[in-house]
């Protein structure tokens, strides 16, 4: 496969795509616009973004991205989002009004931008990104993500890497542009799947937050958050005040808040508020319009450069831009190196340091917390041998006895290659065991 390259030159005509310039991939047809100075028009550009998933502050990115793409003259855009509009979205998701609360985000956003900007076609999908298969994603030239979770990012990344790897020609390489924000900070990155460092290569930059040990929550709370977690996990389980916890239902949150308050009083712990309760159980990340504007536009600027070849895009050299506005303004734009042993885009199996005496269950549990794996429902097999499968049920039952056996007892050896799969990811992870020297 030929390596696609962005055009590296600087000068050129007034933001009009060059007829002779090398393009990022074949079918991107840049059609000269007759209208406004400084703008190009593109036909057959299909974009995918998700405006939100609730709970983590990416929501605003989607609205901004749609606006920016339409204003950059992308003509054919698809947007995927299964979420509905919540009142707390209105401080930044500017395509929504109070009367839109409860409606589908994708639908409302698409309609708004289509009405405002002449000539753009936006197709809304009120679904999850995981509801679509590779045939669906193959029709796009570029994917922009304003996702709220690392799981969703890893899924789309794995999907695009596998499309790129199976493809015979450069059209299969769909540039992936990803943005994220938290408070006054954010990042934008560009990935050329299977050629440059991918989201999985960069996974260690999103190490999971250290969880509070259950014993702290259960018996020795010290922080208000410990009391909230106790009410959320333990008290709720015991008392089941409502059939199913809805973290957006003020009645449910109030129940947890009051339980937490009682427990905090018992232990003399100050600082429980409704806002803290909600923030803790929903893992709320602060989000503001201005940061979303910066990151979304930085992402769309890269999409514009890739599509028009009017200037060098991020990707092959520098591929990652970090932004912080907390203390003055600071950007750090750098090259994140591709990992040859990346489980998604690498070509080598990765070493997995394990104790041969650990049980298979311990090994599987460890996948959830290892920064390089972060798999929550792993199934595992070795060459010619199924060790443990989560589904189907019959296989699960059949392989369950293996969970209590040690790796050694299962006949696994130092250097053994294993394949791990997880329903959250459309690919396989290849590892080989590196046994720790026996301690005793």
């Amino acid at each position: 496969m030929e390596v696609p390259r962005a055009n590296q030159t600087h000068a050129g005509p007034v933001y009009k795509p060059r007829s002779g310039g090398r393009r990022i991939s074949g079918p991107i047809r840049a059609v000269q616009d007759s209208g406004h100075v400084c703008h190009t028009s593109h036909r057959y550009f299909l974009l995918e973004t998700e405006t939100n998933g609730g709970g983590s502050g990416a929501g605003g990115l989607g609205c901004e991205i749609l606006k920016n793409l339409a204003m950059s003259k992308f003509k054919d855009i698809h947007v995927i989002d299964m979420d509905t509009i919540d009142i707390s979205n209105l401080n930044r998701q500017f395509l929504f009004r109070k009367s839109d609360v409860g409606k589908f985000k994708a639908e409302v956003a698409a309609k708004f931008v289509e009405q405002r900007v002449k000539g753009v076609k936006i197709t809304a999908h009120n679904k999850r990104i995981q509801d679509f298969d590779d045939e669906f994603y193959k029709q796009f030239q570029l994917v922009i993500c304003g996702l709220d979770s690392i799981e969703a990012r890893r899924w789309i990344n794995a999907m695009l890497v596998s499309i790129a790897e199976e493809s015979e020609d450069p059209d299969g390489v769909k540039p992936l542009i990803d943005g994220g924000t938290e408070g006054f900070k954010g990042q934008a990155r560009v990935i050329f799947p299977s050629f440059t460092s991918c989201i999985e290569c960069q996974l260690d930059m999103h190490a999971p937050r250290a969880a509070v040990p259950l014993c702290t929550i259960a018996s020795i709370p010290r922080q208000p958050e410990h009391c909230v977690e106790w009410a959320h996990v333990i008290a709720w389980e015991q008392e089941k005040p409502f059939p199913k916890l809805d973290k957006d239902d003020p009645e449910h949150v109030t129940w947890i808040y009051q339980k937490a308050l009682k427990r905090a009083e018992e232990f003399n712990i100050p600082g429980i508020t409704y806002s803290l309760t909600q923030g803790t159980i929903k893992n709320i990340i602060p989000a503001i319009a201005s940061t979303n504007a910066i990151i979304a536009a930085a992402c769309c600027n890269e999409a514009f450069k890739i599509a028009t070849t009017t200037a060098t895009c991020l990707g092959f050299e520098n591929n990652y831009m970090m932004y912080s506005g907390n203390d003055s303004i600071y950007t750090y734009t750098f090259k994140h190196e591709k990992k040859e042993d990346c489980p998604v885009c690498g070509r080598e199996a990765r070493p997995l340091d394990v104790d041969p005496n650990m049980t298979l269950q311990d090994l599987l549990d460890s996948f959830a917390v290892r920064p390089e794996a972060q798999l929550k429902k792993p199934s595992i097999r070795a060459e010619g041998k199924t060790l443990y499968m989560q589904v189907p049920q019959s296989l699960e039952e059949q392989t369950r006895p293996n969970l209590n056996k040690s790796l050694k007892d299962l006949g696994l050896e130092n250097g053994q290659e294993v394949v791990v799969t997880d329903p959250a990811f459309p690919l396989e992870f290849n590892f080989f065991f590196r046994f720790k020297a026996e301690s005793s």
Binding site: G183, A289, F304, Y330
Partner: protein, 532 residues
């Protein structure tokens, strides 16, 4: 049964609709920041392609700025629709100020907005500025008509109004903030990890007593109790031992700290069922960062050494508290205790006791500073909360636009930037080069928005001869020439986001604004902040 009844009749006492709407931002700047935003009155003097200013306002209307005014004499043309999202086909031929105001107001019913379409030159701008209304801040986008800049700057000086100049052309932009004087910030929101202030090398009697009491029989404690000694107490105990063995000296050098860490490691019990102790691991990990002598950071030294040129300035509550804090420091040779205690493995009651020891000390220190504040003229009415926040954040207080220091001349700045570039060239391609050529090229008199690359280079070199033959300048000039004064929507959107962040930081007086110019390069996707 009764319990069930209680639960179902429980009235949710959740947040108000407004608190819900602003929840994600209140978590950043709290109710005080929100109140400041809601009482702000902004003026945007819009000109040129006119998108960057509107994108900025969008990011301020959404979080609920009080009021804005758009002054713009332009009439909407076809070309505006291609770059400005807050216009549509029905706007053609109408006032741009009016149409943008109306579409921006749709975003947030709580915001007030007005427009002025008569501002076409310096005279009509002067009329607007002469009106009785005072603005909290003025933003203006280049290119301005002749005489307008002078009128804006005169207003800024007279009313002590912060000004922000914005310019976005093609893939480049910059914005520059002019503040009326030295701008101090107390509520800088430092990183959580930086705020821990344990005073392990200068414990006060209550803290020492608490540690001694817990550790007097440390070797005979059972595994459970030993495994729950808070790491602060562990460190205090072994620091005492260290001191006795080292003639009263604390471990201060890297080597000594490494050695001290070994002491902690050796004291960790491993014959317990867990095969180790979390609290001792925490103590081990805290040595390098927290076993340190407290020092006064340079940003606070600047505050202590500040010489007032403006009599009025020195009477603000910031400077009165700063003076009291300086007295406190001079007398005690330490800063007030911040009062926070990070989470650590411990029994609940023990942790709470320890937390209160830190809080009590912080409270005593605040009271000491407060009593000094009260003795300073003008300090009689300063709130306790203000003194509390100042003491808690003392190490992170910051001055922006320090008028006490003369800024370097443009010539010196260019020389410094060029020599940095030479170093960068030797260091390798990953070292970013200066963005000052972008600022200079964009600052070429605005009338020449259709200037050729050569004309831009010539104009820059007239002002900055040091850039003669500079390759980067040539590239920048070519890029600007091909943009022909036009805005790219994405670049204006990035810039509008950055300007809005700065406006919020200045109005809320939280976080730290730039000092004073930010240049953005949309080709390399990076910024540089310069004090010009």
């Amino acid at each position: 049964m009764t319990e069930e009844l209680e639960q179902t009749t429980l009235i949710p006492q959740g947040p108000s609709d407004k608190e819900k709407k602003y929840d994600r931002q209140l978590r950043l700047w709290a109710a005080s920041g929100q109140a400041a935003l809601e009482s702000a009155n902004l003026l945007l003097i819009n000109s040129g392609a006119g998108t960057v200013g509107i994108e900025t306002l969008k990011n301020l209307v959404l979080p609920g700025i009080g009021k804005f005014t758009i002054a713009d004499g332009a009439v909407v043309q076809d070309v505006d629709l291609g770059v400005n999202f807050f216009l549509d086909e029905s706007c053609l031929g109408k006032s741009r100020a009016q149409c943008c105001t109306e579409l921006l107001l749709e975003l947030n019913p709580e915001v007030d907005g007005v427009w002025n379409s008569t501002v076409t030159d310096a005279t009509s701008l002067q009329e607007l500025l002469n009106a009785p209304e005072t603005f909290t801040m003025i933003m203006y986008s280049h290119p301005l008509q002749p005489g307008m800049l002078e009128a804006i700057e005169a207003y800024g000086r007279q009313h002590r109004t912060p000004l922000i100049a914005i310019h976005s052309v093609g893939f480049y932009s910059y914005f520059r903030i002019t503040l009326p004087g030295t701008f101090p910030t107390v509520d800088t929101h430092p990183d959580q990890t930086a705020t821990t202030d344990l005073r392990l090398l200068s414990p006060w009697p209550e803290l020492s007593e608490f540690a001694n009491e817990m550790t007097k029989d440390i070797d005979n404690l059972d595994h459970h109790d030993h495994g729950h000694i808070p790491m602060v107490v562990i460190l205090l105990y072994y620091l005492d031992i260290w001191k006795k063995e080292h003639g009263g000296a604390y471990p201060t050098s890297y080597g000594e700290k490494t050695e001290f860490r070994q002491l902690i490691s050796k004291a960790t019990r491993r014959d317990n069922p867990e095969g180790g102790e979390e609290n001792f691991d925490e103590a081990f990990a805290a040595v390098m960062q927290h076993v340190t002598l407290p020092s006064v950071p340079s940003s606070l030294k600047q505050v202590f050494d500040y010489e007032h040129k403006d009599e009025q300035d020195s009477k603000s509550s910031f400077w009165i508290i700063a003076e009291a804090l300086k007295q406190f420091y001079t007398e005690n040779q330490r800063l007030p205790v911040a009062g926070g205690l990070p989470d650590m493995k411990a029994q609940s009651s023990v942790y709470i006791k320890l937390q209160n020891i830190y809080k009590d000390k912080a409270r005593q220190d605040v009271n000491d500073v407060l009593s000094r504040v009260r003795k300073i003229s003008g300090g009689e009415n300063i709130d306790l909360e203000e003194v509390e926040l100042f003491c808690k954040n003392a190490r992170f207080v910051k001055l922006i636009n320090n008028t006490g220091e003369a800024p370097p001349s443009m010539e010196q700045i260019i020389e410094r930037e060029l020599s940095n570039d030479e170093i960068a060239a030797i260091a390798g391609p990953e070292m970013p080069t200066s963005l000052i050529p972008i600022y200079l090229a964009l600052s070429v008199p605005s009338q020449s928005s259709v200037a050729s690359a050569d004309e831009i280079v010539t104009a820059v070199c007239q002002k900055a001869p040091a850039l003669e033959g500079n390759e980067r300048l040539t590239q920048v000039a070519q890029e600007l020439a091909r943009a022909a004064g036009g805005e790219l929507h994405n670049i204006s959107a990035v810039t509008g986001g950055m300007v809005a962040q700065e406006v919020i930081k200045i109005i809320t007086n939280q976080y730290v604004p730039i000092d004073n110019t930010c240049v953005f390069d949309g080709i390399e996707s990076r910024c540089q902040v310069l004090r010009l």
